[in-house]
Symmetry: C2
Subunit: 409 residues, 2 copies
Amino acid sequence: MALIVQKYGGTSVGSIDRIRNVAARMKQTRDEGNQVIGVVSAMSGVTDGLIGMAKELDENPSERELDVLLATGEQQTIALVAMALLAQGVDAASITGRQAGIFTTGSHTRGRISNMDPTLMKRFIDEGKTLVVAGFQGITVDGMVHTLGRGGSDLTAIAVAAALKADVCQILTDVDGVYTCDPRVVKNARKLPEISYDEMLEMASSGSKVMQSRSVEFAKKFGVVFEVRSSLNDNPGTLVLEEHPNMENVVIRGISIERSQARVTISGIPDLPGMSGKILGVLADAEINLDMIVSNTSNDDNLSRHSFTMHSTDLGKAQAALKPLLAELTPNAQIQTEAGIAKLSAVGIGMRSHSGVAATMFKALGDKGINIGMISTSEIKIAVTVDEVHIEDAARAVHDAFGLDKAPV
Amino acid sequence: MALIVQKYGGTSVGSIDRIRNVAARMKQTRDEGNQVIGVVSAMSGVTDGLIGMAKELDENPSERELDVLLATGEQQTIALVAMALLAQGVDAASITGRQAGIFTTGSHTRGRISNMDPTLMKRFIDEGKTLVVAGFQGITVDGMVHTLGRGGSDLTAIAVAAALKADVCQILTDVDGVYTCDPRVVKNARKLPEISYDEMLEMASSGSKVMQSRSVEFAKKFGVVFEVRSSLNDNPGTLVLEEHPNMENVVIRGISIERSQARVTISGIPDLPGMSGKILGVLADAEINLDMIVSNTSNDDNLSRHSFTMHSTDLGKAQAALKPLLAELTPNAQIQTEAGIAKLSAVGIGMRSHSGVAATMFKALGDKGINIGMISTSEIKIAVTVDEVHIEDAARAVHDAFGLDKAPV
């Protein structure tokens, strides 16, 4: 008998009928001889409604109180799903984040899971109960309500699976799994049967927003095998797990693309210690998330040049933050900006043991006449920027060049 | 500096504007030099909406899950009221039933408060915070969510006041206080400045539904002085407190009336031990709340006669429950029923030390030509039934007879 954790998002529980469907699916999994634990989000729309009321009272409501308010959304869902299970003859019980023993640290509205005490869940499972656990919420050691921020219910599911040593954690969502590339862009993209944690992390940070990175990191840390699969059908999805030797046979697992990027290039900066730190510091203070960071220095004039990419909506903020600093540092500094670019990343642990990967990728792009802007690499990723108008052609070219439409033998 | 607990019901917090008003009132009380703790209900309509969803899933939803679901209503209100206080510059914090240390026993949906652990509330008060506590909810010793049933928020307010040794607990409601009689019936009814717990209990059980009896009993047990007053104005209300010697100078504190009553009379029952128990037993099994119970036996034929009053909606159920029992007991039993009656109760601790109270009351009714049906007395109450069409005349006559329109000297 396998222990399976199933996570259902807000759309999956967005109406009374859908809640009945979720209960039916949990019952089916149970009837197939498994123990099942559901982890559920707030019904879609509920969280936004609560935030709307809070903002009527205060444009920047207290984060402590926002947590108390928002945690009610998931608490309502667990009760309703448990009722639906009971109505279908399944002995069920709801479990709040607190009852699940999900202890958190960090700030309100973005708590981090620090510890799990699954005593009550274990007792209920031993009693034969099917549990419905509130996603997105936990408590601090002194009993304050915390929510876990974006992707918090995924994180809850992974943490519950870890604490109970579940056999698998199913993340049921509106996509079928993880694909070699976005199927809306690359028609012959293929659903991956499996992907390693590290590859999933690189895909996530490169724009394939199936899951937040921290949930994947948490799963990797505790060795939780999870599966991304559709909540709308019974097709197998994509297993995310620790890499095993066979996985290295595949050079590139997948390609992710990220649009609406912008680049800032600062040149004419004297190459002195601490310069990069100052520049990155003002951008961090302005709460701008940088993605690619490339720096180099010319031997001729000993001036350095720094390029960063960011989401294009942050471009104005970045310019405003940099101008006073550069005026202070040197009169010769220049800022150039470029919007309308996109990033393409090829990801695969096979890269470690295969040479010539970058060459294949750059040739594929060159053959299509697509110019490469910045380049950034990690051990298992090569990322490039291209003009946004070319990103779909670029993705198809690289997908073809690595033969990703065909299952590896 | 007085510590004041203020309880606000669902209507008082029924919209964002009203929540702002509640916060303003709490702030005003604080600005007058007091410490304030709010105890709040779910926003009006929220609880019914949640019950509606539950009933869509299951006509008789699990009471455990209903508690988990309904407790979210108050949790939302505490966060919103705390946000409103913060927006008005008051350092505030919401407190769930669990955080307030309200421990309960008994069944789900009708928990009873068994213990209070106000550690967290005390810590927050010491930090200068104004607390907003969720009414209607508590937890069992093993951490399950409980709700307290009808009037549960009043009970929470009294319990919080008891645990924190508050100076007074204000029950803010849609009536101005406790009156000598319902002012819609007796135009010159007078608001009472004070009333004893025992009188309040007799008034409550006699139809003056300002508060549930158990909240008054809880206040009496722990010596919590509370005040019933309007949430719409600043007028003083009615203090409910332990009786003091001066109170006995008033013979009758107030008169309460209860309409839509019905009477069942069973006659021809052999006067044997256990007969009354059997009859009351079947009525209890049918979940019929009996009010007045009168029995007597004739020496002539040794047959006994039992009369009960109940709400008229229970009359059919009572007849159905009694018929098979009487057929089994004796072929001579007869059931008579009478609907369309009402009960009038005169309540006052002064009755203990004044004689002739019943005579005054019966004469007042007789002078108006109003016939008395059943009579039932306690140490501090005389209750009679009359035809429902006469109840208002009866109330006015008795109110006049005891001079209740005039404040005692």
